[in-house]
Assembly symmetry: C2
Homo-oligomer: 456 residues x 2
């Protein structure tokens, strides 16, 4: 801990924190996320905030006494962005989980950060509305965490990422001051884009305690198709053909052969017998069925078999194949979910390259992809007792980042940098950008108490 | 000029700037924008940059000698964001106007900042694509200026503002270093959102010298309707009904009675005889006609008369009414175009309130609005010899800002703060945000040479 406070005095300071505990069982629950990374030590304690005032008091004290604070939502992150160790305290925001207001006329929701993504969607659904960002973890991830990572999901290519759905934030700054960013209007350009600066900053610039979010009308209709292909290159070519056909599917998901095999093993399906790659497409809106037919015509020349959902039950069965991917892999061992992105037309190249990396390193890699925006999730699976963030898995991860970059891509499309991707950060953004980002960090958090060592 | 350089030495420094002139006729052309504001003096000179290297050399020298630089695109701004006076030099980017690359498969364009919005759209159109942000000034405004103000236009509610169409920027910083922001991928969350920080920063953080922009498939179909109403409140209620009907029109434009009168006067039409307010709606995409009928059913209960375009010629005639608004007003006198925004459901309140302000101040105010996102352009018209940024017009402007804010709104939806809205900036963003924005400014431009006194 970079503290100017003696140990005895420190204990006194910690005791002054609201809703604070050092119970080892509680600390065990908040020490890391779902990335597979386990910090070497436990954090010094956890504040279980229930109000803006709790957050203000925590940061004011922490800033005064130079105590590093790791803000935390539901702990579903995949980059160790909320992992904490000795010398740090955790600021847990799960209890701030109220939906404060839904305005169905204005189509906005005002929520606390601990609200789960799926709970917001259920509440919005009662008014015929929905909240567009839909990470695979929707049932268990919080809006605060979604904002911290600028989370995406399956609907981004049509509806944008979290940034496109945030109108205003209330943020507690490192020194305990309260900032309101943005406005309650759809558009505003008064000064710098302070919303965007906090979205994706992984808790390093401030702690979001309230968000005004844009809801959208639930589509009046949705249409679903799926197809099997002889190999991933054919599926990727089909995805490119969909984009070239001027369609804007709300969902365009690719699943590779190894992943299909894992799903078959876990659920008793026979996907892999039908193809070495699977593509799921949904269109929505007033022209859903017309647009579905355009998608279909684009896919057909590349596919071995095409399935058209005739009703919602059949549609649900097709979507289920994609949704089963991660749970099926988790049954095989410890899973680390990658998040590289490439320009959309290089999808086939990177999927093929990842298969080569799996062969070269001897690591099992399974890939699903948001094909419409070139964002892939190559998943490394190791046996339960094996480390996932060092040795051959780390080597494979590094090679995947380098491959993505060599194709004009990025090391993270929607999960964030956290702790795990620090080694590759500067290679991607460059030294000038790194310098500026650290200047911004110092301007907001001069004593570096907010999630130090993460994101940038 | 906040310079530590003697006058003789300064002349020498200026002489070292690339493509530099002090010709008064040239200076006259670059001293201001289309806001109606005329700076009291002429700038010291203008650099007519033709390359990144010209920009690097200019900023390096300016930073070293503390010479304030006003970056400038096509000069179509409406907030005096590129106005310049004695002690400042202008960095004119109009000559950097090449479309460097259009990739129709990836659906991106790489352009220099001086490319005109309409020229990019024409080039994209050859591939069945379009660039979504469409300010009314599309034919004469530059992409660099669009980025500087985060420009919007008529299609924002469906397609987003400039921010949603920028993937990557090359920026020359105050000290001459070159920064690349973002990536060539649709999604990326590596570090802070540096794209968003520059978009809308009005040339105060750096000078954009290249942009990678997202293009979108041109809609396969577009459908158009329009309606006349007995008053503005009825038209605003109809616009709210469209939103409530879960439609997402690509265009939803409101024109008030006084503006209809001005159009009639200028073009010989008879709009105002038909109603005291006009609403234009367009839907697009695969379900354009189905969605148009939904819009129609939402509007009908409020309207006195409804018109459905049966073909592109009829559609064009309806769109023309909206497009004629600004040119018609400009025939009446000097025009200052306001840009307030409110939550969408408060549209009727603000339009009525603006009419009251016109009565109270004796100033003529004409209003058009992007109804789907609550962004209004109340236009003040004065006689050619009258000042437009002081006296009663300024009083009316201030009252409109206060009205917008009292309704939960903003003082600028898409034009920016520039010089003209400085007085109201802090009232909107608050002291904490102002402080942070100035810290960001200092982190990027410690000697405050980039467009000082603008935006924040």
């Amino acid at each position: 801990m970079t503290s100017n406070t003696s140990t005895g005095h420190l204990a006194q300071v910690l005791a002054g924190l609201p809703r604070f505990t050092q119970d080892p069982a509680e600390l065990e629950l908040v020490r890391t996320d779902r990335s597979g990374y386990v910090p070497p030590t436990l954090p010094d304690g956890v504040v279980r905030a229930e109000s803006v005032q709790d957050v203000v008091r925590t940061l004011t004290l922490a800033n005064e006494h130079r105590i590093p604070v790791v803000p935390r939502g539901a702990g579903t992150g995949l980059a160790a962005g909320s992992s904490a160790c000795r010398g740090e305290i955790v600021l847990d925001l799960r209890r701030m989980n109220r939906i404060l207001r839904i305005d169905p006329v204005e189509q906005i929701a005002v929520v606390e950060p601990g609200v789960l993504n799926a709970d917001l969607n259920a509440a919005a659904g009662e008014y015929g509305l929905f909240y567009a960002p839909d990470p695979a973890s929707t049932a268990i991830c919080s809006i605060g965490g979604n904002i911290a990572t600028n989370a995406g999901g399956m609907r981004c290519a049509k509806y944008g990422v979290t940034r496109e759905s945030v109108l205003s934030l209330t943020v507690v700054l490192a020194d305990g001051r309260v900032l309101v960013t943005g406005t309650q209007t759809i558009k505003a350009v008064t000064g710098y884009d302070m919303n965007a600066l906090f979205i994706g900053s992984e808790g390093t610039l401030g702690v979001v305690v309230e968000a005004t979010l844009r809801l959208r009308p639930a589509p009046v209709a949705t249409a679903t198709v799926a197809a099997y292909f002889r190999d991933v290159a054919a599926a990727a070519a089909a995805a490119s053909a969909v984009v070239a056909a001027r369609a804007t599917p709300s969902v365009l998901e690719l699943v590779d052969g190894p992943t299909l095999g894992a799903i078959d093993l876990a659920t008793g399906t026979d996907h892999r017998r039908r193809g070495e790659a699977f593509l799921l497409a949904q269109t929505d809106g007033f022209g859903a069925e017309i647009e579905r037919d355009v998608v279909l015509r684009a896919i057909e020349p590349f596919a071995d078999a095409v399935l058209i959902a005739k009703d919602p039950v059949e549609a649900e069965a097709l979507v289920q194949a994609r949704r089963d991917a991660i749970p099926s892999l988790e049954k095989l061992g410890r899973t680390s979910i990658g998040d590289v992105g490439v320009p959309r037309h290089r999808l086939a190249e990177i999927v093929t390259g990842i298969q080569q990396i799996a062969q070269d390193t001897g690591v099992d890699i399974y890939t699903v992809a948001h094909a419409a925006d070139g964002n892939l999730h190559p998943m490394i699976v190791v046996a339960e007792h094996e480390p996932i963030t060092e040795g051959a898995p780390k080597d494979a991860l590094g090679r995947m980042f380098e491959l993505a970059r060599s194709l004009g891509g990025t090391l993270t499309g929607e999960h964030g940098v956290g702790l795990l991707k620090q080694d590759w950060f500067t290679a991607e953004v460059g030294q000038v950008s790194r310098d500026l980002q650290h200047r911004i960090k110092r301007a907001f958090d001069p004593h570096n108490i907010l999630n130090p060592g993460k994101a940038i």
